[in-house]
Symmetry: D2
Subunit: 297 residues, 4 copies
Amino acid sequence: MKVNGVEVEETFAEAFDIKIARVLITAYDYDWAYVAANEATGFGTSVIMCPAEAGIEKKALPSETPDGRPGYYIQICHMSKKGLEQQLLARLGQCVLTAPTTAVFNGLPDAEEKFDTGNKLRFFADGFEKQVDVGGRKMWAIPMMEGDFLIENDIGYVNGIAGGNFFIMGETQPSALAAAKAAVQAIADVEGAITPFPGGIVASGSKVGANKYKFLNATTNEKFAPSIRGQVPDTQVPEGVKAIYEIVINGISIEAVKEATRVGIEAATKIPGVVKITAGNYGGKLGKHLIHLNELF
Amino acid sequence: MKVNGVEVEETFAEAFDIKIARVLITAYDYDWAYVAANEATGFGTSVIMCPAEAGIEKKALPSETPDGRPGYYIQICHMSKKGLEQQLLARLGQCVLTAPTTAVFNGLPDAEEKFDTGNKLRFFADGFEKQVDVGGRKMWAIPMMEGDFLIENDIGYVNGIAGGNFFIMGETQPSALAAAKAAVQAIADVEGAITPFPGGIVASGSKVGANKYKFLNATTNEKFAPSIRGQVPDTQVPEGVKAIYEIVINGISIEAVKEATRVGIEAATKIPGVVKITAGNYGGKLGKHLIHLNELF
Amino acid sequence: MKVNGVEVEETFAEAFDIKIARVLITAYDYDWAYVAANEATGFGTSVIMCPAEAGIEKKALPSETPDGRPGYYIQICHMSKKGLEQQLLARLGQCVLTAPTTAVFNGLPDAEEKFDTGNKLRFFADGFEKQVDVGGRKMWAIPMMEGDFLIENDIGYVNGIAGGNFFIMGETQPSALAAAKAAVQAIADVEGAITPFPGGIVASGSKVGANKYKFLNATTNEKFAPSIRGQVPDTQVPEGVKAIYEIVINGISIEAVKEATRVGIEAATKIPGVVKITAGNYGGKLGKHLIHLNELF
Amino acid sequence: MKVNGVEVEETFAEAFDIKIARVLITAYDYDWAYVAANEATGFGTSVIMCPAEAGIEKKALPSETPDGRPGYYIQICHMSKKGLEQQLLARLGQCVLTAPTTAVFNGLPDAEEKFDTGNKLRFFADGFEKQVDVGGRKMWAIPMMEGDFLIENDIGYVNGIAGGNFFIMGETQPSALAAAKAAVQAIADVEGAITPFPGGIVASGSKVGANKYKFLNATTNEKFAPSIRGQVPDTQVPEGVKAIYEIVINGISIEAVKEATRVGIEAATKIPGVVKITAGNYGGKLGKHLIHLNELF
């Protein structure tokens, strides 16, 4: 199949289950909301060695938020319910409560499952907390140095998807990279999806396990490593490809991940020097969700 | 004492010991270096509940770096040597190795103590790694999807300082906040110092321990909380002060922390509506380093 | 009337007629589209001494653009048809044709009036230009150093509105400024409206003509100058107001200007330290459009 | 000659004389200083059809500025003294005086020639202006809505250089563009030099005059247009080159332009997919200054 003239391999991305909490952070303006959202989602690329996977999902217009201020939705993702609760507590407590002018709202008010993260963080007020209502939400006001910090009592979470992905192969490294950047920006407008890696991009796609260093859970995917193409008999790097970037997508639903994959590929294939799109799958070792690229178009 | 017409209280900031590793990240341009530096230093405001304290220290000009590319120095801070090594491994492995076009160098080549973080991360190459030399540095080249990632064998660390601080008191919240932002930008040019909180600013200064909720190690510093000024008999919020922001400073030396404090106060006191500067100290419960504000000017 | 607890004076903004061309600029990604949009709309705050009024209106999603790439809508405004055509030619020819990866589309395809700016700029190709079709638009491909630059043959323009405005009065300068910034960001999502001044904000609101220096067409509006409040008998600066910022709004329709005024005031009045909103009017000397603030809520 | 393994042609850039005024803009923080600097230097790529050439030169640290605030140096360039004075007056009056929290200082205090731009702009105060001293500079305080705007009485200018340049040829368009961006960022740290085009980059390098459309002063440089390589017998596009970007450099001295050219080429040649560097010259039709690329290394 071709998209914008570029070959999209008839293969599939293999994705896995993860638990995802979604938080709405508002502030004076988008810049201050971003400062908090960015700190709270840092060190959050992969559960392999990060304490969580996390990312900024999208802007929230003032007309969409309970306090009428601009903001960002973020997602925090973890394999276990317990781990997710701990990460929510730590990331909201240390990176948003501490940030200038922010308030925190439940980003999934309709979710069946939730944590009482706001109720736990209110203890920081050491007895001075007060319950307040903002747009029908049950909130806590926590007196601090900047004034009162407001956080909703409950934060919802769902069973979501991690590891949606596609690979961008380029004639030159800057071509593959410009395409990856365009893909990430297109995905940034998709409701419910995040790209948790740095700048949304993975430079170092990995395989499950190792051939030589068996003590590692994940090592370089040598079949997709251009610089050792000549040393890997079953290389999957096409001739003339100098660099490959992977876009990894998490989402609160399989539909969100699929839509993100589709718009990402549409955007990437518009950049000159992109020669092929494919996806990563691991024989079912990674997860049970299969996203067939050719069914997206 | 007055600085730029604003009262600076004759008090001191109480700071404590911490171990700090310093890493130089280079890339195609400052934007891509920033993407990696930012991801690697996220979720890193306070060791109270973050896995490390971390921040971007300063730009590195192409003429200053071993590979002649632009970059950023970052600092990773931890109370223990073991914890610091684990954080370096995880943050560089998950947030910089994975980021587009980056290379990693020892940011403290003269430090006596070091971790062989590069030597450990090379195992990701699963046998395809190669030792190379860049500007006299012993590096590992790790073949990946984007090409080869280069990282220095050793990363140096020192006994540094955490918790340097000052408080900015404003007539209005935006005045205190504009002053805090100006202070953080001024500190960004100080060699060896970082401001690890979101946007460099703390909205929620805390005290050690709690009065009511004794199960917490840190709770709101109610004496500096303007919204409950009337409820706290020994409040230290001056009349007319509506908001206070704290700037927390870590540094690789006490001199760096002092210089950062000085330029930060100079910058903050130039913003209209700032009425007083003071600092946080906790009767020696927090740390042994005392930075007297009036000795800085 | 009060909005978010802040007094909004029962007065009106006086706006005037202007001709507005609207251009859609697309590129690899939002960053490159912004580079071109920003250069093309610079030196464009006020027709008093700028060659045009100009601003970036809003983002265009890839799904909304003829070439499926991300972009920005910009507006170029001039009092005369001839002047507008000259400005379009110069700004698109010097600031967008010259910018990396851009294409230019008519941002008002349904407008009755239009300039054949693309047809004129194609001569830059010195005979190598080719007519092409993109999404049903008649375009010219101009071979250049980066490859082919594409521009639509016609650019539409309408009779629009300039000088819509409101004033934000603050207890401190940073309060008024933070409110102005929040207002500008809220207006950035309004279809059809721009805020042409630096960062969308006017620090120097003026009156028509002069009292002392009669050779000037516009001078400081001394009745709204806080620092000389004591010297101006008929000052309109309320007691306790230290700074005032004006938001000036242009738009392709009176409805767009009104909606921008409304969301701007909503956003500004959420910032602490804002004490009053009013608007600028000049006894009909400036223009015929009156926007009554109290009718907006 | 090779730089970083890339061929640098033994040719020269042809540059011409221009008059350059240099202005220092300070503000609350770098962000607000940038807002003013950016507006004041917009619509300023080429004197062919822009009212001036203009650009942001570099950051000014708080420790370097007369008022101890952060800022940016900008340059405004014009072929004539009279035109330069008019542009200074219009750009400072409309784009900096109107911008939040700014002050304006002479950026060339040692220049022999100067305009009394501050003295002329003070009339905006309509009689309320006051002369003040800041760090030994003779300034005017102009009461406005935000408070007092301060501007120095005199702004210096020199006989500078325009049109310094080099061309970056890439295997793919994104390679050439990534190299151009890296070059521009490297030049941003060079004292005295600017890159006036959008994002510092020219996508549309031109020749003097025209072959077919003789009514134009400048048309596409078809010999360097990759998409018509097959149609231009004396093409200078090497085989395999898909895109070329030009970096145009202005500076207050020939040394600044040369240093900018050198660091720009050093940076560009580090990006993968760059195959050749050359420069633009026009048989002396453009200017008298010749910068030989091979003498820079």
